[in-house]
């Protein structure tokens, strides 16, 4: 069968090609990526599925010997189930209705218009993300509590309303949607902003020449072409809201609104010893099912991604839209947003850090204010070590996650080389960890690595592994959306210029992906510094990190100390952000830089 024609040039070997695959660095890398991602994801996933069919009353899943559908039965026969599902849908819809349009609007304003103070606002938008959720949640209560919340107090004063409580009640479904929606904005902004930036201006210019105004152009040209990015964001955040417990835990109990994550919370916080992993996993599996459905829909809707390529060779820097008369309202809007969503919670955090216990600002409480927390914190040697661990952990996790995310994205977007099947598999599998409750990931890793010869148990590496698994979902969504905008011909031109795959990646793909990569790096690092649930399952005396410290300080009533550490975390994150911008700046010379570039 083999025929060996003569070579093209002295140094070129003809490779034998079987219809299925060719040996090359690319296919090796594909194989490795498939193996690593599958491994990372399947371990917790299998634990999830396995535990969901185990009777885990007072037993851990791998101890229990009874296989049962009882967990699913409990879910579907409980009278609470229907209201829980309905509430979850409403909560998700409401939060997304608040958060996504805000994020899109902000991304558009900051990336595509000539609004003043762009660089500052873009940085500030990201600050809420850097506050550990435990602390930021408290800030929101301090702002919006019906009786003493500062915003309500201010509103009552401003409008002369004479009630004891109100007018805004945060303990309601709308209150929950509002706070959760705001919490989504930084992450959504990061995911979407890079897509707005890299637009071929000719696409919009044609629309403008046809007489469409800004709004029409945006709605008819810009947004549709960003469909993959927007859809990816939508699907990701649906699962995030469904699965996250911060807001339902803080506001939902009082509002008597029960959602899916509430049910998972109760299952995992047994008062008498062990979590009910069976039930928690059954619920997680249901979320998994929803995610699979969403992924299938997404893949159908974004099937022909050549349509969405906006970085071609032809144009790169979109024009700035002049807002004219709209400049002032837009600026006011941005400032209002920054004030409400960023500055106020941050100030509340600062306030908490100088108060022995929470009290609304007043002459009396001002007298109690003291900055000694900031001085004392350094005396504790364990805090310095925790900070060091945290930074190391964040960096390792970020790098690992980015590498994986970029590789996954490449094989998903440039799927022609290996077929849709593998691409869809990768896209779906990299998304699934988002659905697995953190403690299940933790338990799965404990189970595996306590036995495995790989000596990462009890070290920072196992926590890094858990986090990489978890953060792969967001990262790969972000890098995929960004890569879709890079026209395939740019890479093909590199191939035709004689470059092997690795050089194409290095000199063409990655520089064009760099803005998205910097975004993702920042996002992962910030989240890694705050991650709590998995750290609690996996950490050791040697691997204490700041998030567990904050948490245990808070539990022990040292609220001021916890807040001080929170403020320190914010500064660390700010340093990271500035670092990312410095990298962008150096890469691009004197072009005006913004985060996510």
């Amino acid at each position: 069968m083999s025929v060996t024609p003569t070579t093209l040039a002295n140094n070129v070997q003809i490779r034998h090609w079987s219809l299925a695959r060719s040996f090359s660095i690319r296919s090796l890398t594909l194989g490795l990526t498939l193996a690593v991602v599958s491994y990372l994801v399947l371990v917790p996933l299998l634990m999830l599925l396995y535990a969901s069919v185990k009777s885990t009353e007072d037993k851990l899943p791998f101890e229990s010997t009874v296989t049962t559908l009882g967990n699913y039965a409990a879910v579907f026969t409980s009278p609470s189930t229907l209201p829980i599902f309905l509430n979850t849908l409403l909560f998700a819809a409401g939060s997304l209705a608040v958060g996504l349009p805000l994020a899109i609007l902000l991304a558009w304003l900051l990336e595509r218009t000539a609004i003043p103070g762009r660089a500052w606002i873009a940085n500030l938008i990201l600050v809420p993300m850097t506050i550990p959720s435990l602390l930021s949640a408290i800030s929101w209560i301090q702002l919006l509590d019906p009786r003493i919340g500062l915003i309500n107090v201010a509103l009552r004063g401003l409008f002369g309303i004479d009630v004891e409580a109100g007018p805004l009640d945060i303990y309601s479904l709308s209150g929950m949607c509002f706070v959760q929606g705001l919490r989504l904005v930084p992450s959504a902004y990061l995911m979407i902003a890079a897509s707005f930036r890299a637009m071929d201006p000719s696409l919009e210019e044609q629309s403008a020449m046809a007489g469409q105004n800004i709004a029409q152009t945006t709605l008819r040209v810009t947004l549709p072409i960003m469909r993959p990015a927007l859809l990816a964001a939508l699907i990701y955040f649906i699962i995030v809201v469904v699965e996250s417990f911060d807001i339902p835990g803080l506001l939902g109990f009082t509002a008597r609104i029960r959602v899916l994550s509430t049910a998972i919370y109760w299952a995992t916080h047994s008062e008498v010893g062990l979590p009910d992993y069976g039930l928690a996993s059954a619920l997680g599996t249901i979320i998994l099912g929803a995610a699979l459905l969403l992924m299938w829909l997404y893949q159908r809707l974004t099937a022909h991604q050549e349509r969405f390529a906006t970085i071609t060779g032809k144009g790169y820097r979109p024009r700035q839209v002049r807002l004219g008369a709209w400049t002032a309202p837009a600026a006011v809007f941005c400032l209002l947003y920054v004030l409400i969503a960023v500055l106020l919670p941050f100030l509340m955090l600062l306030w908490t850090s100088v108060q022995p216990f929470y009290a609304p600002p007043s002459a009396e409480s001002l007298a109690r204010a003291s900055f000694e927390g900031y001085a004392n914190i350094w005396r504790d040697g364990s805090i310095v070590r925790a900070l060091w661990n945290t930074i190391l952990l964040a960096l390792v996790t970020s790098v690992a996650t980015i590498v994986l995310a970029v590789l996954v994205s490449w094989f998903v977007v440039r799927r022609r080389s290996q077929g849709s099947g593998i691409a869809n598999y990768l896209a779906t599998v990299s998304f699934l960890p988002q659905c697995v409750p953190s403690i299940v990931i933790g338990l799965a890793l404990i189970f595996v690595y306590v036995r495995f010869p790989i000596p990462i148990y009890g070290t920072l590496w196992i926590i890094a592994l858990a986090m990489t698994t978890r953060y792969l979902a967001y990262s790969s969504r972000a890098t995929t959306a960004a890569l879709m905008q890079v026209h395939g011909e740019l890479e093909e031109a590199s191939q035709m210029s004689g470059a092997p795959w690795t050089r194409t990646l290095r000199r063409i793909t990655m520089p064009l992906l760099a803005p998205a990569m910097i975004n993702v790096f920042f996002w992962v690092a910030v989240h890694a510094m705050q991650e709590l649930s998995m750290a609690l399952m996996l950490y050791n005396p040697n691997t204490v990190v700041v998030s567990t410290m904050i948490w245990s300080m808070w539990q022990n009533g040292r609220t001021a100390d916890a807040a001080v550490l929170g403020v320190i975390l914010i500064f660390l994150s700010a340093l990271l952000l500035l670092g990312g911008q410095a990298v962008s700046y150096l890469r691009r010379g004197s072009d005006a830089q913004m985060p996510g570039q």
Partner: protein
């Protein structure tokens, strides 16, 4: 120099499989400019990309310079980066994060020393009139300049063949014409074997040594431009290259062999025409002739019933500058005529016309 044999390729479409290439075969001689011409979706770009190695056909072979870069049966496939081909994409695919010089130097990476590379880059930039733009960032160029950068990049490493995917389609008309000549002269002076893809028949006719007309995945005809224009073997070719009159007619006699004279009876008169390759014996046929071959006769009123003569009322006249596009209505049939600008008939007037038999061809219905 390039041999393409029996290429087959299918895509999974929305409603089952789409056969994008059906047994495409052609040869390109050394130093020739060969154009693949056809409407969108006919498979010309796919063929080009198969030669480039960016697509893998399911059957067939491709040889460049006698060496197989692809052979389905033998399982041979040389990846695109090893084929030493220069390619210009329709979108130019200039890398926006690099300067012009950076773009052009890229194919030379790893070869020679920095100094030698720099010399080669300068040379090609000068050759293409881009010398001043070497340090400009790629997006800050006009369309025409970008196209030339793409060309420079494709040529700098002295490839064996050059592939061009609709390189002029994004330029305005004036620039297009100008670049046409530049391209041709470049190609000739470099003597580089070139495959050119376009849907613009004027371009194809102007530039090519040989043209291959593609339709729905199959290569219909290959030939020199004049050959295809004057003596098309297929109706589609006739229709695609330039303007055409197709008049349904009945066969009176003749037509056993391609090229034979035939007598047709049509609503506009009797015509003697030559049989095309495509036509199969039967009663029905399509009479074909080009508008520029219709001669409007002097004199008033209809002429006698000679063969290859007809008459009609001038329905519409469109003045085009160097000619006039005239629609004659003869009975129910519209006949399109290209008239000299100095002899434009008045609208509403009845004129007679004739078409030489050598300019008439018989095609199937």
């Amino acid at each position: 120099m390039i041999s393409v044999r029996a290429l087959e390729k299918s895509f999974a479409g929305a409603r089952g499989e789409v056969r994008a290439l059906r047994g495409v075969s052609f040869e390109v001689g050394k130093g020739q400019l060969f154009t693949l011409l056809g409407p969108s979706g006919c498979g010309k770009t796919t063929t080009l990309r198969c030669i480039a190695g960016l697509e893998q056909p399911s059957a067939g072979e491709i040889l460049i310079n006698e060496r197989a870069v692809f052979n389905a049966a033998a399982g041979t496939f040389v990846p695109p980066e090893r084929r030493r081909i220069g390619m210009v994409f329709q979108s130019y695919a200039i890398w926006p994060h690099m300067t012009v010089a950076g773009n052009v130097e890229y194919p030379l990476a790893g070869e020679a020393s920095r100094k030698e590379r720099s010399i080669k880059v300068d040379e090609i930039l000068q050759r293409l009139g881009l010398g001043e733009l070497a340090d400009r960032l790629a997006p800050n160029l006009s369309g025409g300049q970008q196209q030339r950068v793409a060309l420079a990049r494709a040529l700098v490493a002295q490839p064996e063949i050059l592939l061009l995917d609709e390189p002029l389609s994004n330029l305005d008309a004036k620039l297009r014409e100008q670049m046409r000549f530049e391209l041709k002269s470049l190609q000739e002076s470099f003597g580089i074997t070139t495959v050119y893809v376009t849907h613009d028949q004027e371009e194809a006719l102007a530039l090519s040594d040989r043209v291959g007309l593609m339709h729905e995945g199959a290569l219909l005809e290959v030939g020199a431009p004049a050959e295809l224009y004057l003596h098309p073997a297929h109706k589609i070719t006739a229709d695609f290259l330039g303007m055409a009159n197709f008049i349904p007619a009945h066969v009176q006699r003749g037509g056993n062999q391609p090229g034979d004279e035939m007598l047709l009876e049509s609503p506009i008169g009797s015509f003697v025409a030559r049989r095309s390759v495509e036509w199969q014996p039967g009663p029905a046929a399509l009479l074909f002739f080009r508008p520029e071959n219709v001669e409007i006769l002097d004199g008033n009123g209809p002429a006698g019933c000679e063969t290859n003569h007809g008459a009609g009322v001038v329905e519409r006249v469109t003045f085009l500058g160097n000619s006039a596009d005239v629609i004659l209505r003869s009975g129910a049939t519209a006949v399109r005529v290209r008239a000299h600008p100095a002899r434009i008939p008045a609208v509403g007037k009845t004129v007679s016309f004739s078409v030489a038999p050598s300019a008439c061809i018989v095609f199937p219905v």
